[in-house]
């Protein structure tokens, strides 16, 4: 098990949301725009990487019976750190993400990685695992947000900070935005379609490798 392997598995083979269907609640709720998805993904990446590192360091001294409370305390600390920091440097994004930042605490991916990986593996591997899984989660949220934003509003805003606003109008102006894609049902529709697409791509890749289709 190499560091590179632990890092890269989160980006495709075990990409959160699409392959391991964890952390779906924030995924469905905040991906109304690509930028919201990006912000939420990066905040989660920070928490996931930091909590993985700390839990990996503490893995020798945490008694088995109180491991979950210890994990949660560690995770909650980093969530509060990112909550305060975001409020100080990216106030508008913080307003847009709202309650979902504090709720990173209960995101299953983070506790899942702590329990399944960081509490059993050394520091560097845990760091790579957290960073990879976090970036995979970011990628998934950004992609989902982009699909919903393009279909639902006809354009895509990739980045905005202060007066900087990188926005593309992608669909022709006579396109009537499918508002439902920005509404809650659109989250389920987009996620379902993307899960299907991922499975299809994987099936093709597997077949090409001459393996039995895993899907």
């Amino acid at each position: 098990m190499s560091v590179a392997r632990e890092f890269s598995k989160g980006l495709w083979r075990d990409i959160p949301v699409f392959r391991i269907c964890l952390g779906l609640c924030p995924t469905l709720a905040v991906t109304t725009t690509a930028f919201n998805g990006l912000g939420m993904g990066l905040a989660t990446t920070f928490v996931l990487t930091c909590s993985n590192v700390v839990i990996s360091l503490l893995r020798g001294i945490i008694p088995n019976k109180v491991r979950i409370p210890v994990f949660i305390v560690v995770i909650a600390t980093f969530v509060t750190v990112i909550d305060l920091t975001l409020k100080a440097v990216q106030f508008e994004l913080h307003q847009a993400l709202g309650i979902f930042i504090p709720l990173i605490v209960v995101n299953c991916i983070i506790l899942g990685r702590a329990e399944a990986f960081a509490s059993k593996n050394p520091l560097t591997l845990s760091f790579a695992d957290g960073l990879g899984m976090g970036l995979g989660f970011t990628l998934a949220l950004f992609a989902l947000g982009a699909v919903r934003e393009i279909l639902g509003s006809g354009g895509l805003t990739i980045f905005k900070y202060g007066t900087i606003n990188i926005h593309y109008s992608l669909l022709p102006s006579n396109y009537v935005p499918a508002v439902i894609m920005i509404l809650p049902p659109g989250a389920f529709l987009a996620l379902g379609l993307m899960l299907g697409l991922m499975n299809k791509i994987n099936a093709i890749l597997d077949a090409r490798r001459g393996e039995k289709s895993a899907v």
Partner: protein, 195 residues
């Protein structure tokens, strides 16, 4: 996991220590970010105030006057009062409460309306109340020169295609706010002068 079944003392110790260390770390971060968060919240408020008031050179949030729990932010230029901005809210929105910021000049005419974040109107329909095309039509209106209802109800305010409830809520809220302002005008201006 290396931690074997440990005694109760060790469990309590590890958990307490973790909480103490993490709590300590948090207090550091809190103190570091506190000033900037307050600053950001203030800037955010000032941005909205600036959008609804005529040009001013004072600090409206610091000169605020409170009348019946509503804060009125005066906009002054070279010491002369140009208008007031204040928050108002409607509970008639499609998704619950809609908060607005209204700017009124000294003659009682509206100088601007902002829809504040935190409402739950339908994206793409009701949320179009945030767009300038809708908000700007309130400029220069007052209680006398306008029939305060949306066009569908026979009034002067153009609603939004496909969404009547949200514009209606905003229209009613602005009318209420104007009435409140007129009623308490003396109080507000005297408070503004005394400070």
């Amino acid at each position: 996991m290396a931690g074997k079944d440990a005694g109760i003392t060790r469990m309590v110790l590890v958990l307490t220590l973790t909480c103490a260390v993490m709590g300590g770390a948090l207090s550091v971060v809190y103190n570091q970010t506190k000033a900037e968060i307050e600053n950001q919240e203030r800037l955010y408020k000032l941005r909205s105030i600036k959008a609804v008031l005529p040009e001013y050179d004072n600090q409206p949030d610091k000169d605020a006057v409170k009348v019946e729990d509503v804060e009125f932010y005066p906009g002054k230029k070279q010491g002369q009062l140009k208008g007031w901005a204040f928050e108002w809210s409607s509970s008639e929105g499609y998704g619950g409460q809609i908060k607005i910021l209204v700017g009124i000049d000294t003659q009682g005419n509206i100088t601007g309306v902002e829809i504040l974040p935190g409402h739950a109107e339908t994206p793409g329909l009701g949320t179009r109340i945030q767009e300038p095309e809708f908000r700007n039509q309130f400029k220069n209106r007052n209680l006398e020169n306008t029939n305060w209802a949306v066009s569908k109800d026979g009034g002067d305010i153009e609603a939004i295609t496909g969404a009547t409830i949200s514009p209606r809520a905003v229209t009613h809220a602005i009318k209420d706010s104007l009435e409140f302002f007129n009623e308490h005008r003396a109080e507000i201006s005297s408070g503004g002068m005394v400070e």
